[in-house]
Amino acid sequence: MCRVGRVALQFLTEHEYDVVRRLADQLLPPHGEFAGGGAAGTADYVDMTLGAFDFDPPRIWAGGPFSGRFGGDASFDQFLPLSRLEELAWRTRIEGSRGEAEREWNGPVRGWQEIYREGIAALGDDLDLDRQPELKQLLFEHACEACYGAPEYGGNRDLTGWRAIGYAGDVQPRGWTDAEVTSA
């Protein structure tokens, strides 16, 4: 197991991290230049997301306006602060409502942390995700985000996802020239 660019896990245990990595390869397997969902950093993305509130500001919204990959000062890694209500929403989504009245104005909310922890614990040694459809759906969404989103969120390691599909990613402030837009 190899983790890149992270000193310590925020939420996942080492075992859970390894399981997420292997499951990501099931969902988004290696192909051609694409190293697979595991090697692309899905487990790092999931861990950063589930542990978003271990950081200040929380790792929910990357900064702007530019990443520096196409010029300008790099600022994606300067995450944006949340408002009081945005923090409530994201804590509820990630941590669940935990029986707290402030988070349950429309009833209990099952959080992503619970879905991962309980879903992984319930998996057999064969890691058959079809027996854990709630985990499968959530992890699939997160793997897609991890592999094909901006790397500042913890995934898309070495831009493997974008490179494999010939996608430039965030192109500001360079943009595309008129000739690049109009020609094949």
Binding site: Q26, A62, A89, C144, D170, Q172, E180, T182
Partner: protein, 554 residues
Amino acid sequence: MPEFDVVVVGSGPGGATAADILTEAGASVCILEKGRNHLLALEPPFAGLGRLSNDEIKFQRRHFLGPDPLLEPRTYRHSAADGERRVTGDINNMPSTVGGAGFHADGKLPRYREVDFRLASEYGPVEGADVVDWPVDYAEMEPYYAEAERLIGVAGDHTGNPFAAWRSGPYPMPPGADMFLTTLTVPAAEQLGYHPYRAPTGANSVPYDGRPSCNNCGFCAFYGCPIDAKGDPVAMLRRSLARGRCSLRPESVALEILVDGGGARATGVRYLDADGAEQTVTANAVVVACGAFETPRLLLRSGIGNSSDRVGRYLMFHLQTIVLGFFPFNVHAYKGRDVTHLMDDPIVGDAETVSVARAAGLPFLRGGIVEHGGSGHPIMEAMHLPPGAQHSALMAESTTRDKMVAFTMQGEDLPQPTNRVDLDAGVRDVWGLPVGRITYQPHPHDVLCSHHWAPRLEAVLRGAGARGTSWVTSPGTPGTIAPDLHPMSKHWMGTTRMGVDPRTSVCDPWQRLWDVDNVVITDSSVFPTSTGYGPTLTLVALAARAARALAASM
């Protein structure tokens, strides 16, 4: 003595336009905006905040522009037969942020045509719908259209569309670069007798109004512009603030429009501030520009404007017919302004549509503009592919992104009184307020029109070189792959329709509530019919007209 001349609720295109015109006329204005401010500093020189970016996770997956559906769910049902609701959550959410829905749009800004303002007179009634004329015609609207194009900054070719209404001058800017895919689709459409033209677009093709020209980054629809080149309401808000008579208050949730003891005059707005503390702002007039979902919700909550029982009714979306063409080579639709060509042929119709309409007992068959565009960015594609063995290979092949052209027809949606927004007391938002409930199903006209045009548009795509085609509709319609899909269109209209009779309309021809005439609605909720064009330019033109009238009356 009221604190302000006018309080404006909502800072999107309608509210920003009203604020710009009212402050220019010397009025003091307080703008209450429910959402966060990611757009501009509130102190001189009102510079951009630098938070906008080409970031698919932030904008498409993590509700950066709001509203967060956990905080502000909505409910949906086709009809009362579904019970109280069938879906709870994100239903056609529009951005809830300073700048409102102008923020996320890709900025296609066509004008309506003369006939769009007088459908009832032109064609007569339609069974099951309540088609009416607008209380304003194109001739009266034309100067306001021109003003709206200047305020926003619209780039276009005024000679390109043979069906366009007359206009008093060219667009403020020439059109921007054509997307590659249109070099395929435009000739193919012309070959079949259609009339594509360069889309009037609220993105600068040259430096304009102190903002730079667009650099074609491809993150228009559903994103904010990182370089201020898009005609979102930033320029109007900046001008309003710079005059020193405007207070913009983000994270301020309007709870209720306050009225005097007799109920005939608004006196201000009660709201919650960013800390959740209740506040009141007083004013001589209230402009409501919350959009066609939130505006009726606020009126219903306030218990005003509804003597006609029309508040919330005649909700309209465009029935979107999304026709996909799969090409054997890359068309890189992620480069450019998302959509650079439109065609009006399905709105105008031809001998074939007349024949189909007659056979169905309809006086017309009116579709909508066809947008020549592509798909989105890769997370969106990845999410729509099946997980497992083939996923990564399909991503590399990119049949549904890099090799796909998408035509979207924004079909006219006929107004029906049963399509509505009302309050759902069974579900609450984070402030404890009953959420809005959408009850909606398309009229048979809309479905027939969609199903008529889809194969014709597939033929265009095949002529352009597509190896395969398919189509879906939003909302779902019988016979398509997702017949129960709720509407995905962001084009909300109706719900406080304007008219000449207080018994059958909510607003008068100047968009004032019949019941409380110092409350003015400046969003697309006042539209009596939907036409088949994007609503933003028309709502801005109407907002300019209504705001000038309000300023003159003060």
